[in-house]
Amino acid sequence: MSRVGRIVLFGLLAVVAFPAALLAVRTVTLLEPRTPMLSELPGGRQILSYPLEQDAWESSSGVVRHLLSDGTVRSFPEGSIGGSRPCPEAWTARSEEGPVRIGFLHGVVVDGDTLRGDSLETRLESLRIGLREDRARLVDEVRGQAGAPGFERAMQRWNQFRRQDERTGLLLRDASDSVVFLRLSSLRQISRAPTGWIATAETWMRQILTVLSETPDSWGLGGLRQALTSTLALILLSGAIGGTLALLAALLLNERLRPGKWALVVRRSSEWLAAVPGVVWGGVGLGLLVWGAGAQLDALLGNGLRWGNGGLLWASLTLGVLAAPISLKRSMEALEEVPKQWRLVARSCGATRWQVLRMVVLPSAWRGLLGAWLSAFARAAGETAPLMLVGAVHSIGGDVLETGIRLPSLSGGFPHLGVLACDPPWSVLEAELGHPVAYLSIFVLTLLCVGFELTASTFLLENRRRLAKDVEA
């Protein structure tokens, strides 16, 4: 290749990789902990606030919107605020109820007694985590004892905890010296804008982990844990279904079927399967699996509406069929790289077709077949549209206090990272509060797709390289 050609090629490659790189940059900048600003208002009043990004949906220029220390958002004409300075000593508290509060640490109230002093900051975090853990444990206990003799005792302990909890909190003082009490167990996160890059990186990592591991509230705000686990479960299930079907089809076509009418039908329809749009599969899955098979299953089992709703199983079957063609194509390529003569020699020695498959084809092409199998996972991870028809939901409401990772049930609706990212008004709101759930979810989804594809392609290329070397030798 000429030098100009090489430059053009790598320029194009860079352009192609551009969106993914942009996404990474944007996610990182949004997650960066922001420093509150202490600003002077025209009347001589001081406020603590975050300047928010402009509202994309109204494109109102000339106005700067601020998130104030009391959790409200106000717009100020540009230039009306004089003398802003960053205020790293201010604290930020995100509560479960929604508003983000900004203020100076005034004190900590523990069971009614106000504490002040130097070691407050370290005590604060352990106190908060302890309270949240206690609360989750007690709620589980009350739930578990419902109807049992121990219920009264559990309720007593819960009420005792509630009384203590009501009187344990954080005192934040804003710029105009009014102090607000925040119940400690309801706070998702309390932090101070870090100084220095090590502290920044630490806060940044902590924020990513918080967003990824928090269970969302019933509005779906706050965390991605459910979406992450159910997306992973969906990818694994549908990839395994699609990859296995494709592997069987490839082996059937390449090793088993003699050329004829049926072989042609199987081959053509497998290729054409790739052309059916994903969303059409969504519709077909809704009609045939959810309302067809699901309703039949419900009628058979007689336990009400359970399988007749969109759910993880139907979604993964739908995605499995959708992911199969790419895997099939790559399996066929991997099988075709095994020289025909090897099979002929084995057959002429008296091996059955199964023996040829087991002793010649699989040992020499397993890398390629594994790669092709994994391609189905990558394809399943990248498709979102059909899921909106076969059971993706915004959140599984009600289990705010759930602890531990629990797999989503096969019959129930499931939140999905791609679907979450595609809800613009909600995601814009989250991003403005320094909680870029949409960005993070689509970024994690992209990482999953690219990771699966990279593994798959590495296996496929390795397979080709090794077989080419073997054939030469």
């Binding site: 290749m1 090489r6 053009v8 090629l9 194009l12 490659l13 352009v15 192609v16 969106p19 996404l23 944007r26 402009q54 994309a56 949906w57 494109s59 296995t244 079907l245 069987l248 089809a249 082996l251 059937l252 090793e255 088993r256 049926w262 039908v265 199987v266 329809s269 054409w272 399967l273 052309a275 059916v276 749009p277 969303v279 059409v280 599969w281 969504g282 519709g283 077909v284 009609g287 045939l288 099939l328 059955t352 077709r353 199964w354 990248g382 979102t384 549209a385 990212a421 595609c422 809800d423 613009p424 995601s427 814009v428 689509i442 992209t446 690219v450 594809e453 990279l454 392609s457 290329l461």
Partner: protein, 277 residues
């Protein structure tokens, strides 16, 4: 000799062979059944003779899908063709491409929606939700998959150009007189395949057009078949007018994409069998 060797194959080996054939036959021929089930169900639900339906609505969706596909193809193909012709056969390029092509098409749309569109609308006063954004998002997003399809199509037949180089041809001569003419049918086939894929793409369009009533016309007035299916199918009652329209849209879109794909397949097979020694 043949008789005696056949008799010596143990019974267990023969049974294993039969069993393997059975498993492969049942699992492996899922494709015809899946395709037939999908098409038959769509056809049954579309109820082509039903008087209630509104063909103009279906036509509008289909027109949206086809024109978006064409625009995306027109935007993406110059980059993809250049890249595929320049980077033929390199494993590094291929690995990189496969990775980037695995990125969901919703990513460029997402970035456009959340980053570029607000910025442009603030600077130049354009609306944030506009069909033009969907065209751009699809065009950008289609470059990697199209490039990958193209480079798969052009993969074979590196031998002639090596011979030409050996005879002293320059790279541009090889490109002009050998590679382009020899690979033209393959390019056409791959472009058709990309068109078939772009027509069915939903998420990018949906994101930019919004989940709600939007610049495209709101409920029942989505731009493409895909967007209409996702937005309106959960609300449509089976057997109702909207349902039948949606099913007709889905059926026609599937017929369209599959037939474009089949044509591209045919072109490619011709090219493989005829064009190469």
């Amino acid at each position: 000799m043949a008789e005696s060797s056949r008799r010596r194959v143990p019974r267990s080996v023969r049974i294993a062979d039969r069993l393997a054939g059975l498993v492969l036959g049942i699992g492996g021929s899922f494709a015809p059944f899946a395709l037939a089930a999908a098409m038959l169900w769509l056809f049954w639900q579309a109820d082509l003779l039903h008087p209630l339906a509104d063909w103009s609505r279906v036509g509008g969706w289909l027109r949206g899908s086809v024109s978006l596909g064409l625009v995306a193809l027109a935007g993406a193909s110059p980059f993809a063709v250049t890249g595929a012709l320049l980077g033929r056969g390199s494993d590094l390029v291929r690995l990189h491409l496969r990775m980037v092509a695995a990125v969901p098409l919703a990513v460029p749309a997402f970035l456009l929606l959340h980053w570029t569109a607000p910025w442009v609308s603030q600077r130049f006063g354009l609306p944030v939700q506009h069909p033009g954004w969907a065209c751009i998002a699809l065009a950008v997003g289609m470059v990697p998959p199209l490039w990958l399809i193209l480079s798969d199509a052009l993969e074979r037949g590196g031998g002639i150009s090596a011979a030409a180089y050996a005879l002293g041809a320059t790279p541009s001569q090889v490109m002009r007189t050998l590679i382009l003419p020899a690979s033209a049918p393959g390019l056409v086939a791959a472009l058709l395949r990309g068109f078939s894929r772009a027509m069915g793409e939903t998420m990018a369009v949906l994101l930019v057009s919004g989940n709600y009533a939007s610049a495209w016309g709101g409920a029942g007035g989505a731009a493409t078949v895909g967007a209409a299916l996702v937005l309106d199918l959960p609300e449509a009652s089976p057997g109702g007018a909207l349902w039948i329209d949606l099913m007709r849209g889905g059926l026609l879109l599937t017929v369209l994409t599959v037939s474009v794909y089949a044509v591209s397949d045919r072109v490619e097979r011709r090219f493989r069998s005829g064009g190469q020694p």
